[in-house]
Symmetry: C2
Subunit: 223 residues, 2 copies
């Protein structure tokens, strides 16, 4: 089965490599539409929009004769597929979205330096939750289409941080492209006392759960 990651995140790419999967990358510039309130539902919804946009465009892309390799199609979907669709290959598209939730507030990527400082001042010295939603869009060899969304929740606890430490960390620029303004896999590990749940879920993709879901899906498909 061909696996397509519908995400430009280098961290998600590394995590899929880590679990030994061969995959291609296809990123959609789809506009996010949030209709849910609970963070667990928001990330499932957004992961679904990303996966479905790529899945649908990939289907259209498949029909274009002579269209392969890397490029941007007419709908602004960046396509980086190694080989053109054969038409009846089984294909799996993986979409994902991660947010941080603290005191009922959903923290995405910080808008600017001040926003990053605000988020870190809020998170330090206590616990918060990280949600990653994943949507699998799968077309089987017989043409049947399956879609499944799930999410994982991880509780993360920070040690107290001094104002100087927060400023120094924001100065590294590491927080700027990350939900909640921190990366658990970088220098910020200094300030994490522990987690409860899947670590890779905080990095951006719950690869344990993902592997299990895809394994089960593949098993059903083979039967």
């Amino acid at each position: 089965m061909r696996i397509i990651l519908a995400s430009a995140s280098p961290r998600r790419r590394e995590l899929l490599h880590q679990i030994g999967w061969d995959f291609e990358i296809c990123v959609s510039q789809v506009e996010e539409r949030i209709t849910k309130i609970l963070p667990a539902e928001v990330v499932e919804e957004l992961s679904g929009q990303k996966a479905k946009a790529v899945f649908e465009h990939l289907q259209g892309y498949a029909s274009k004769v002579g269209c392969n390799g890397t490029g941007t199609d007419s709908d602004g979907v960046q396509v980086c597929v190694h080989e053109p669709e054969e038409g009846n290959d089984a294909v799996l598209v993986i979409g994902a979205d991660t947010v941080v939730a603290c005191d009922g507030e959903i923290l995405g990527k910080p808008a600017d330096r001040e926003d990053a400082l605000r988020m870190l001042r809020k998170l330090q010295g206590r616990s918060h939750y990280v949600y990653t939603g994943v949507t699998l869009c799968c077309r089987l060899a017989d043409g049947q289409v399956l879609t499944k969304s799930f999410h994982e929740e991880t509780k993360v606890t920070f040690y107290p941080m001094e104002e100087e430490e927060i400023q120094d960390y924001v100065d590294t620029k590491d927080p700027m492209d990350k939900a909640g303004a921190y990366g658990i896999q970088g220098i910020c590990a200094r300030y994490i006392s522990g987690i409860r749940g899947d670590y890779n879920n905080v990095v951006g993709l719950p690869v344990g759960r993902l592997y299990q879901e895809v394994r089960n899906l593949t098993k059903e498909y083979q039967q």
Copy 2:
């Protein structure tokens, strides 16, 4: 303060780099003597033996005129210090030891392929505990010597693994140099459903707690 890591583990090295510390490496070939029974006490004891061996040899090493760089001293201690001791520099030696505990059995590195298979069959589909003990041996600029040991405990839960998955994982050779016959930071992430505690403690060094301990020590020293 000069920081010396008393461990040959590339994973511990990466973790210290991750939290942004400059350090040198000095590895002792000291024979491990276990007098404790509880895993938390065993890892503290072994981390202490590693740190103290390096600390003591480093003191003697300092007195050898013209002796710097990489080499092996007369007691078999592998020394890789970038610069010779100045005599009155503050220096911190970090020793660490990691074990896996399951059903009262302490699992170290597997002896061979069969041992790795046995450990993974035991760990799959359930939870176990990982202990890393850390010992800090610190000589302050005024000559005062401080020693502190601590440990962190992390609970790790595996998804069920099929016999074929266990065999395939052992075939990758990844388990052979790791306590409990798995590396949470590699392909084995497929089989981890979650943890409770510090993730880096499972990799081999609880860098969150370590950073906090050294920060507190440095603060006391500056006062």
